[in-house]
């Protein structure tokens, strides 16, 4: 999974697409002394034009959807999406609510229709995500950690 282009310098545009702030403050926390993501070359940028990765926190509300698409279109390729936290991945408690899209997997379908290409997606579960989870995801992208989760199918023997 290590990424050749952005593995050594990851510029991140943080996009709150309807999050409760929990993941956002933890994302900010990753940059602070105890976690210090900058040691892996991570930098928070303020314009999608500079970004390699867009961080989604939140289930993607309908109101934020057009702006999300705009921001993604503004990014130069290769562009990556990181879905942070259980809202951005599975839509959390509001996955079925009237005013949200319900997570990045659903956003990807919309992006496909809009003709916006994305070069890769990473999913980082947590609610809110803890800073180490983000660091672990960075380590995955850099190739210094191994993926641990795998779909499990178990059978309950009757």
């Amino acid at each position: 999974m290590p990424n050749k282009v952005i593995g050594r310098s990851i510029w991140v545009f943080h996009l709150n697409s309807g999050s409760c702030n929990g993941c956002d403050i933890e994302t900010l926390d990753v940059l602070t002394p105890y976690h210090d993501a900058e040691r892996f070359g991570v930098k928070l940028v303020v314009s999608p034009r500079h970004a390699d990765v867009v961080l989604f926190t939140g289930p993607i509300t309908i109101e934020s959807l057009p702006k999300v698409i705009r921001a993604l279109k503004a990014m130069p390729r290769p562009r990556y999406i990181v879905a942070l936290g259980s809202c951005a991945i599975g839509g959390n408690i509001w996955h079925a609510s009237y005013s949200v899209v319900g997570g990045v997997p659903k956003l990807l379908e919309i992006l496909k229709d809009e003709g916006v290409n994305v070069d890769g997606v990473f999913y980082v579960p947590g609610c809110p995500i803890r800073p180490e989870s983000i660091i672990y995801a960075i380590a995955l992208i850099k190739g210094i950690a191994k993926k641990k989760v795998k779909m499990k199918v178990k059978k309950a023997e009757p």
């Binding site: 709150n16 309807g18 509001w94 009237y98 809110p128």
Partner: protein, 541 residues
């Protein structure tokens, strides 16, 4: 004015059909015509504050829509709830926003979510996404929580305007960290007007609470209203249901709630101080406050199991106890942070640029603050002594003695000082409560929530007063309304930003410590027992 005087005066208003009193609340039913005179009486003459108003679809019960207006007489710890019915076919009520400017937003919210029109004012869309069809009101009971009339909303004219006289701040902007949109109209470098378009984070929380989740599950969604002050919301929700159902929460649970609430306040204020340092270009200040804050986060995890989203509250009590080793750890962490943060805080306010830019910028005068019923540190920095912990004590706050810091200048510096002082007070509150914590159980397992009871509860969140309103229903709330502190404070920004340099705008916006996700969430109240059963006149039972 004595309590009976207040009751008499209210009874004297034409159109008041019913007044019911309880220990700390007055419940009034009135006709639409009585609304304006009542607002005048309570807001202007008695000097009450406006908490919020709540729309409710009660067509299944009494074939009407209803609006509940909540006023508060803080100095006597009294809530006044005014209920007015609106016709089910053509719901229309007179607006009180000319008398109570603070009611501007909640009227528009009721219009968006219930389709209740307000006469005598300009109407605009506040909450629902751009492109949402007219006439579709998601909080009406005949609307299903999962139907989505729009899935590809179109963008409003937004950002990248060709003229330099408009500077858009947001919806994705480094100074905000949250998607909200301010359009600043500037002349040179001076802001002449502000337009706000928020509610990007409207997730339909209230609807889910009313139509999908159970009473206990709502605790967890309430916590997720806000990632910074989530515990305040879940405490407030738990309290409102406990009050409606008459559940006696064990004392120990109340102490644990108060302790965790104060720990959350410390983390939230430190977070804010850091963000302000960052906005002022003093990044070292940001890094060091967050370094200190990290101890608080780890402590929170030790006490509750998670750094944020504590998942600690249930209706009837809390899920985890504070044992002796945890108590020692709390004291240890408090000692560390109180030493380190005082050192850092005094350093920060000595930085010439920090001082210069905070003093005199973003001023909110006391009269405006009162008119808009602002809450929390914003109110306290403008000379209003409002603090729910004192005015309507809940949880275990009656066992602690503490000061409410009040500053009179109303500028950004005062708001900084209020928060810095509050951290000190919070540390002392936690220490006092730890000393007095009684032994015993931490939760009530069995309880029944009766249907059709109205309750209100308020909690002092780091950003100000947090109000939850509930009408109980079968297995879940019939109506649940959350009034977050930022909801009350954002309209004040217009006053603070106007005629100020553009350069101060992000700072001033940040100075109210906006929490947009709270505000955008989309209900009798009171922790100390002002509840009443709606079996008779209130017609919900």
């Amino acid at each position: 004015m004595s309590f009976s005087d207040i009751v008499e005066r209210i009874k004297g208003v034409r159109g008041v059909t019913e007044v019911v009193t309880s220990r700390s609340a007055l419940f009034i039913t009135a006709t639409a015509d009585a609304l304006k005179p009542l607002a005048m009486e309570i807001y202007q003459i008695m000097g009450g504050f406006f908490r919020t108003c709540i729309g409710s679809d009660e067509r299944s019960i009494n074939n009407c829509f209803a609006i509940y207006y909540i006023f508060g007489l803080d100095d006597r710890g009294l809530n006044i709830v005014v209920k007015v019915y609106a016709d089910s076919k053509k719901p229309e009520l007179p607006s009180i926003s000319d008398i109570v400017p603070a009611s501007d937003w909640c009227e528009m919210e009721a219009r968006d979510l219930f389709g209740i029109e307000f006469t005598g004012r300009a109407s605009y869309r506040l909450i629902l996404p751009h492109g949402w069809p007219n006439g579709v009101h998601p909080l009406r009971k005949d609307y299903s929580y999962d139907s989505r009339p729009v899935t590809r909303a179109v963008s409003e004219r937004l950002t990248l305007v060709d003229t330099i006289s408009t500077v858009p701040i947001g919806p994705y902007h480094p100074a905000l960290h949250e998607p909200e949109y301010f359009e600043l109209y500037i002349e040179g470098e001076r802001v002449i007007d502000v337009k706000y378009r928020g509610f990007h984070v409207h997730r339909g929380i209230e609807k889910l609470g009313e139509s999908k989740l159970t009473y206990q599950q709502v605790n967890f969604i309430a916590e997720r209203i806000c990632g910074i002050c989530g515990f305040e919301h879940s405490t407030c929700y738990a309290q409102v249901v406990e009050s409606a159902a008459g559940i006696e929460v064990p004392e120990r649970a109340k102490f644990i709630r108060s302790i965790v609430l104060e720990i959350e306040r410390i983390h939230s204020h430190l977070l804010w101080v850091g963000v302000v340092a960052h906005l002022l270009g003093y990044d070292a200040g940001f890094m060091h406050t967050w370094r200190i804050r990290e101890h608080v986060m780890t402590l929170a995890e030790l006490l509750t199991g998670s750094r944020k989203m504590y998942g600690l509250n249930l209706i009837g009590g809390v899920r985890r106890d504070i044992d002796l080793s945890k108590k020692e750890k709390i004291l240890e962490v408090l000692d560390t942070i109180s030493k380190e943060y005082i050192e850092l805080a005094s350093l920060m306010v000595s930085i010439p640029q920090v001082r210069m830019r905070l003093k005199g910028s973003g001023v909110l005068y006391k009269e405006d603050a009162r008119k808009l019923s602002v809450v929390g540190p914003v109110a306290r920095a403008s000379g209003l002594r409002r603090d729910v912990r004192k005015d309507l004590p809940y949880a275990a706050y009656r066992y602690a003695s503490f000061n409410v810091p009040v500053y009179d200048d109303g500028d950004n510096f005062s708001r900084l000082m209020v928060r810095l002082d509050e951290i000190k007070e919070s540390i002392s509150i936690v220490k006092q409560l730890l000393d007095q914590m009684p032994p015993g159980p931490i939760k009530v397992e069995e309880f029944i929530v009766p249907e059709g009871v109205v309750a209100i509860s308020a909690v002092e969140a780091p950003r100000g007063e947090d109000v939850h309103f509930i009408i109980t229903g079968h297995g879940r709330p019939f109506r649940w309304r959350v009034r977050a502190p930022t909801y009350q404070n954002i309209p004040a920004l217009k006053h603070m930003l106007k005629d100020q340099p553009l350069a101060d705008a992000p700072l001033t916006i940040a100075s109210i410590d906006p929490c947009f996700s709270c505000t955008d969430r989309v209900l009798v109240i009171d922790s100390s027992g002002s509840k009443r059963t709606l079996k008779l006149g209130w017609g919900l039972g």
